[in-house]
């Protein structure tokens, strides 16, 4: 396969998780399924490899990592720090810089005035930069805490810087120690990065296309908070929750929680200068929720139905229950006019997905089959009445 340092999300699924990471591949798959996803591109493992080759010519540093004793915390800390600063600090190969900058510039020239896209007065589009790990299966979970997300990054130099920070996160002490314990070869370690336009949601959260409580496949469980989903993911705010039937469309459970705090993305707010520290939010503000909104549900019934419709499409596309991150915008995705249309179809146009992955908890459980056919249909009834108390 020819070397490509960036691929659009639309092409990411085709490129494969091995080259663009799981997150980008899954977003690409969503695009393929016709689901609205904030536009973006993936910086591939090829870019990572080129950058690493420049940062660690000859691979001497990586070889010294492989030589580390997993129990030698001090040694790990020392070598990892050197690798991190090399990855974060070394000059990027010109081709990588050019590819990322060009793709980012293409964003900024197309539709930065769009209502659902955030940008600074300079014309640069605000983006989220997220690491997209290439490790397989359950191991990803072990890396989850080590991966970085930078919100509200603006301007090509800042984007490039954030990309390098994502890469460097592979060499966190914990990450290195984890690989040493499993004796994973450093040559197999790679990190792709997703660069995506920022959205400023009215509400955001997660949803599962089967009940996380009972495993019921006929319902969709939705949790949401005002503003960014980070307040929910971090556990800072107890989300509102709903259960909606896939077949009936009936909302069978509603719980509105007091949502004391709200994380918002302010497109025109002051940038954290010069660049955010690793893991710190970009132009994200954390504030007390206005009193009128605190105990108000963060989704209307129409929005709940719209989310459910999108969730069903995604589940059908994957053929398995999904664990989805979503956001609901003020205006139809990609349109400049805020507010305007109502109704569930219109609500669906305001839904974007930020992530979808297979549900793993119930998938791993041994769920007892609900029943099996018998010789005659009536035998089911005979069995019911024949069962001892």
């Amino acid at each position: 396969m020819p070397v490509a340092f960036v691929v659009t999300l639309a092409d990411a699924a085709g490129a494969g998780a091995g080259r663009v990471g799981g997150k980008a591949a899954s977003l690409g798959e969503l695009v393929r399924a016709g689901v609205a996803v904030p536009a973006g591109f993936a910086v591939t493992v090829d870019a990572f490899a080129a950058a690493l080759a420049a940062a660690d010519p000859g691979g001497a540093l990586r070889a010294s990592v492989e030589a580390l004793d997993p129990a030698d915390a001090a040694g790990i800390a020392e070598v990892a720090a050197r690798l991190r600063s090399a990855v974060a600090g070394a000059a990027l190969p010109a081709e990588v810089t050019a590819a990322v900058s060009a793709r980012y510039a293409a964003f900024s020239s197309s539709g930065s005035s769009s209502g659902s896209v955030c940008g600074s007065p300079s014309g640069d589009v605000d983006v989220a930069v997220r690491s997209s790990a290439t490790v397989e299966d359950g191991a990803e979970a072990s890396f989850a805490g080590l991966q970085d997300t930078y919100l509200g990054v603006s301007g090509a130099p800042a984007v490039l810087d954030s990309v390098r920070r994502c890469w460097a996160s592979l060499y966190n002490d914990e990450s290195v120690a984890y690989r040493r314990r499993l004796r994973l070869p450093e040559a197999g370690v790679a990190m792709a990065v997703v660069v995506q336009r920022m959205v400023a949601p009215r509400a955001a959260g997660v949803m599962f296309t089967r009940s996380p409580v009972t495993g019921d496949r006929s319902v969709i469980a939705i949790e949401g908070v005002w503003g960014l989903g980070s307040a929910l993911v971090s556990g800072e705010v107890t989300p509102d929750s709903w259960v909606i039937g896939k077949v009936t469309g009936e909302i069978t459970a509603r719980r509105v929680s007091p949502k004391a705090r709200v994380h918002r993305y302010l497109p025109n707010g002051p940038a954290t200068s010069p660049a955010p520290a690793a893991g710190a939010p970009g132009r994200v503000t954390v504030a007390d929720t206005p009193a009128a909104l605190r105990e108000a549900p963060c989704l209307t019934d129409e929005e709940i139905r719209a989310l459910a419709a999108v969730a069903r499409r995604v589940e059908a596309h994957y053929g398995a229950p999904q664990d989805i991150e979503w956001a609901v915008l003020d205006a139809p995705f990609g349109s400049a006019a805020p507010g305007a249309p109502t109704g569930s179809v219109a609500a669906e146009s305001r839904v974007v997905l930020l992530q979808s992955r297979p549900e793993t908890v119930w998938a791993a459980r041994d769920v007892k089959p609900a029943g099996a056919p018998k010789a005659r249909a009536a035998d089911h009834v005979l069995a019911l009445f024949g069962k001892p108390l």
């Binding site: 009936e250 099996a372 069995a383 019911l384 009445f385 024949g386």
Partner: protein, 601 residues
């Protein structure tokens, strides 16, 4: 079974002050016995939400003979014998007799399999035969005559050597009426227990496959669209159309009285006569719909009291004039039912589960026409005729001076009616006045007084020790009594009425509590109907209301099915909604959770 604090024991129930003599109304075999304290009993509010008039105890006495005979003796259900009932303070408590010993269950199962299998295998043809037998029973009860007891027998009685005088037929015909009622109940249970069994296995399967599925959703997959219960309402709509096309529609105005309209139609020439002919045709059998489930004599049918049809007709006439009444969208309803079933089926992960689903749903749809339509034949058509016939005997007793009025016959147990008939027969034969007046009239007056006192008693939901396990399929099937339900009885919510979530959605509005369908004219557009029970005779009111709440009924009950079709929230089987909610209360009906909340004003 372990003892657990919670429900009182039967022996701990005190007589209601002012009605201490309630036992005099009921038979000895309905009394709680000392040993009954060891068993778990629950109040059968589903069928008997009011204190029992003495005659109406026959609606327990006969059905429990029939049900037990069916399960214990006829089909030999392996785990269930019959149901015992007791009356305390006028209320009916029941308990099921389970079979617990494994060897005995096995012995019974060997008999049950072929017997039940035969009915399922031949269901459709058996049901056809069943309908014929029920129609024959109905014709027979309609034809039973109540002797006139003339001064002299007609001379033909002599010339034809009849040899038997009319007073003999007092007994024979009254016993015939009782016997027909018993026969009807045996046929009622003949296919019903097995039919409900098909429902139960499908409900259990669905709950296993989709733990969060609501009963109403399962019911929607099963529901038949073309069932008899819609017919009475459809007949009214047809009569409204006819009134408009014949030009007699001006007579149907809001608040019109049936008698006035019928009298006016007599003066309207051919058109009036034509409408009246169509009306008479529709009345038999389609107006034999009880306002209840046929368990009380005062649950009158449309034919007994024309208020309901004549309250609904003006609205239908206005709708016809305004462009017609849309027929029930049966094709769309069938399509929606099939969509729901096939989408749930598609959610099943394995082919085996899909195959089991197909078998069980198929069986439900096979039994559905019987399970749904038997009520019209039994509880409505036959039972309306039954109570009418008993009332004719009441008229005879009133004419003879034994009773003050015909309806008082329902305050005598059928064995007491036998005594009264013996009295009348003896008196007629002897040429003397009957002696029953001073005996029965004070007794009836006292019983009516006691019933009005007992009406205010709140019966405990259950009595006796809570069983460790309560999964008798028959009990679960007929009464929805589960461990969860018992738990809810023990810990009632103060401000919430809890029932069965019967039709999805949430609605707020003003409550209109009606104790009987005859009060239907009080109902205003957009109110929430709160009633003891609904039956097909209530169907026309659903066009007017925003939501429905009932004391009695399950997810397959009439209110539930009609509410789902209208797409309005409904909570049924609340037990005491009509007591806890008042007309004018602002209430919130949550048809998803099965709760009704009285909102503070």
């Amino acid at each position: 079974m372990t003892e657990q604090a919670g429900f009182p024991l039967p022996s701990q129930i005190a007589d209601v002050p002012g009605a201490e003599n309630w036992r005099s109304m009921y038979q000895y075999f309905t009394r709680f016995q000392p040993d009954d304290d060891k068993r778990f009993w629950f109040y059968n509010s589903m069928h008997f939400p009011e204190p029992m008039p003495a005659f109406d105890t026959i609606t327990g006495e006969i059905p429990y003979q029939a049900i037990g005979a069916n399960t214990a003796r006829l089909f030999v259900f392996p785990t269930t014998l019959g149901i015992e009932h007791r009356i305390v303070n006028g209320r009916v408590y029941i308990t099921a007799n389970p079979v617990l010993e494994a060897a005995e269950i096995e012995r019974r199962a060997a008999e049950f399999g072929p017997r039940a299998g035969y009915y399922f295998e031949n269901w459709d043809s058996l049901y056809e035969g069943w309908k014929g037998r029920l129609r024959a029973l109905i014709s027979e009860i309609e034809s039973v005559s109540v002797p006139e007891l003339p001064e002299w027998e007609p001379s033909e009685a002599v010339f034809s050597a009849a040899g038997v005088a009319q007073n003999h037929y007092l007994h024979e015909n009254f016993h015939r009426v009782l016997a027909l009622y018993s026969t009807m109940w045996h046929h009622h249970t003949e296919m019903l227990m097995l039919g409900y069994g098909a429902y139960v296995v499908f409900f259990q399967f669905c709950q296993q496959a989709w733990p969060e599925i609501g009963d109403q959703t399962v019911a929607r997959m099963v529901a038949g669209i073309d069932v008899i219960m819609y017919r009475p309402d459809d007949e009214l709509k047809a009569l409204a159309r006819l009134a408009v096309s014949l030009g007699v529609d001006d007579l149907f105005t809001d608040g019109c009285a049936a008698a006035d309209v019928l009298a006016a139609l007599e003066t309207r020439g051919t058109a009036g006569a034509q409408w009246l002919a169509a009306f008479d045709k529709a009345r038999d059998p389609w107006f034999h719909v009880s306002s209840g489930d046929g368990f009380y004599h005062h649950h009158l049918s449309w034919n007994d009291d024309l208020t309901v049809p004549f309250t609904a007709l003006p609205g239908y006439v206005a709708a016809v004039r305004a462009g017609g009444i849309a027929p029930r969208p049966t094709a769309r309803l069938v399509e929606e039912r099939d969509r729901i079933a096939s989408e749930y089926r598609a959610l099943l992960p394995t082919g085996d589960e899909k195959a089991a689903f197909d078998q069980m749903l198929g069986l439900c749809r096979l039994v559905f026409p019987f399970v749904e339509d038997h009520k019209f034949y039994c509880e409505h058509w036959f039972t309306t005729r039954f109570f009418q016939k008993v009332k004719e005997f009441g008229s005879l007793l009133a004419r003879a001076g034994v009773l003050a009025e015909a309806d008082d016959v329902f305050h005598l147990h059928h064995t007491e009616i036998d005594q009264a008939l013996a009295d009348v027969s003896l008196a007629w034969a002897a040429g003397s006045p009957p002696l029953g007046g001073p005996h029965f009239q004070p007794l009836v007056a006292e019983r009516k007084r006691m019933l009005s006192v007992l009406k205010d008693w709140s019966p405990p939901a259950a009595l006796g020790p809570v069983p460790e396990a309560l999964n008798d399929p028959a009990v679960r099937m007929l009464w929805g009594i589960t461990a969860e339900r018992i738990e809810a009885w023990l810990n009632p919510s103060a401000d919430e009425v809890v029932g069965v979530a019967a039709s999805a959605g949430v609605a707020e509005g003003t409550a209109r509590v009606l104790s009987d369908v005859s009060e239907i004219s009080q109902l205003r557009e957009g109110e929430i109907l709160v009633v003891p029970v609904t039956a097909p005779s209530w169907a026309p009111v659903f066009a007017k209301i925003r939501a429905a709440v009932s004391d009695i009924g399950g997810s397959m009950s009439h209110a539930a099915i009609v509410a789902r079709e209208y797409g309005m929230p409904a909570v049924v089987g609340c037990g005491d909604a009509t007591k806890r909610i008042r007309t004018g209360d602002r209430i919130r009906v949550d048809g998803d959770r099965g709760t009704v909340r009285v909102l503070s004003d």
